[in-house]
Subunit: 90 residues, 4 copies
Amino acid sequence: MEKREEISGRLKSIAGHVKGIDGMVHKDAYCIDVIKQIQAVQAALNKVTTQILEGHLHSCLTTAVRGEDANERERVLKDVADVFEMSSKV
Amino acid sequence: MEKREEISGRLKSIAGHVKGIDGMVHKDAYCIDVIKQIQAVQAALNKVTTQILEGHLHSCLTTAVRGEDANERERVLKDVADVFEMSSKV
Amino acid sequence: MEKREEISGRLKSIAGHVKGIDGMVHKDAYCIDVIKQIQAVQAALNKVTTQILEGHLHSCLTTAVRGEDANERERVLKDVADVFEMSSKV
Amino acid sequence: MEKREEISGRLKSIAGHVKGIDGMVHKDAYCIDVIKQIQAVQAALNKVTTQILEGHLHSCLTTAVRGEDANERERVLKDVADVFEMSSKV
C-alpha cells in the first residue's frame, strides 16, 4: 500500500478519537456534541478512504489494466466500481 | 458513453420524479413523505452515477491507462479519485 | 409546508438541471463532467431536504410534541429519526 | 444520554475495529479489502448516531419543546437541523 505510514498514523488517530467520544458518553456530554464528534470521525475516515483509493488507482489498478490478463483487469475495475457504489450507502 | 440510452431513460424518469415531488409540495403533502421521495431520487441518482462510472472505467480509463501518454493517464486517475472524494460530501 | 414557494422553485430548478444532464449525455459529454453535475444535483437536493426538515421541526413536530397525544408525539419523533437514518444510506 | 452502556459498548467495538484495520494496513492487505472495512466502520458509526439522536429526540428535545423557554426550544430544534445538514456532507 502506498503511503502506508501516513495512513496508519491517521487510523491510529481515528481510533483514539473514537475512544475519546466514548469518554464523552461516560461524562454524559450533550448528545449533539457527541454526534458532531462522530461526524468528524466520519469525515476523517472518508479522507483515509480517498487516500487509499488514490494509491490503489496508481499502483494495483494501473498494473492490472496495463497487464494482459483480461480477468484480472475486469476484477480490479469491478472492485473500484463496488467501493464507489458502497460509498453512497454509508 | 456506454449504455447511453439506458442512462438517458433513467435521467428522464428522475426529472419526472422531481416534478412529481414539486406537485406533492403544492398539494401540501406531509413533510416527511416529501423528504422520503427526495431520498428515493438521491438513491436513483447514485445508481446512475455508479453506472456511468462503470462504463467510464471500462472505456476511457482503460484506454488512457493502457496508452503511452503519462499525463493523460494521470488525469483520468485523478478524475476518478476526485469524483470518489466528492461523492462522500453529497 | 413552510416556505412552500421557495422549495417549489428549487425543485423546479433541480428538475431542469436533471434534464440538462440528460442533454449532456446525448451530446456524449465526458463521463466525469456528467457525474459532477449529478453530484451538484444531489447537493441541491440535500439543501431542499434540510429546508423542509427545518420547517417541519418548527411546525408539525413542535405542535405534536407540545400536544397531549402521546401516540402522535411518538409518531413524529420516529419520523424524524427515520429520515435521519435513511439519509445516511443514500 | 439514553442507552449509555449500549452506545459505549458500540464505540469501544468500533475503536477496536479501526485498530484492526490499522493491523491490516501493516500486513499490506489488499487496498479494496481495507476500504471495505472502513465502510463497515462508517455504517456502524451511522447506527450509533441514529441511536443517540433517537434518545435525544425523546429526552432533551421533548423536554425543551414542551418547556416555556422559546430560546431553548429554538436552540434544540436548530441543533437537530444542523446535525441533519452535516450528515449529508460526511
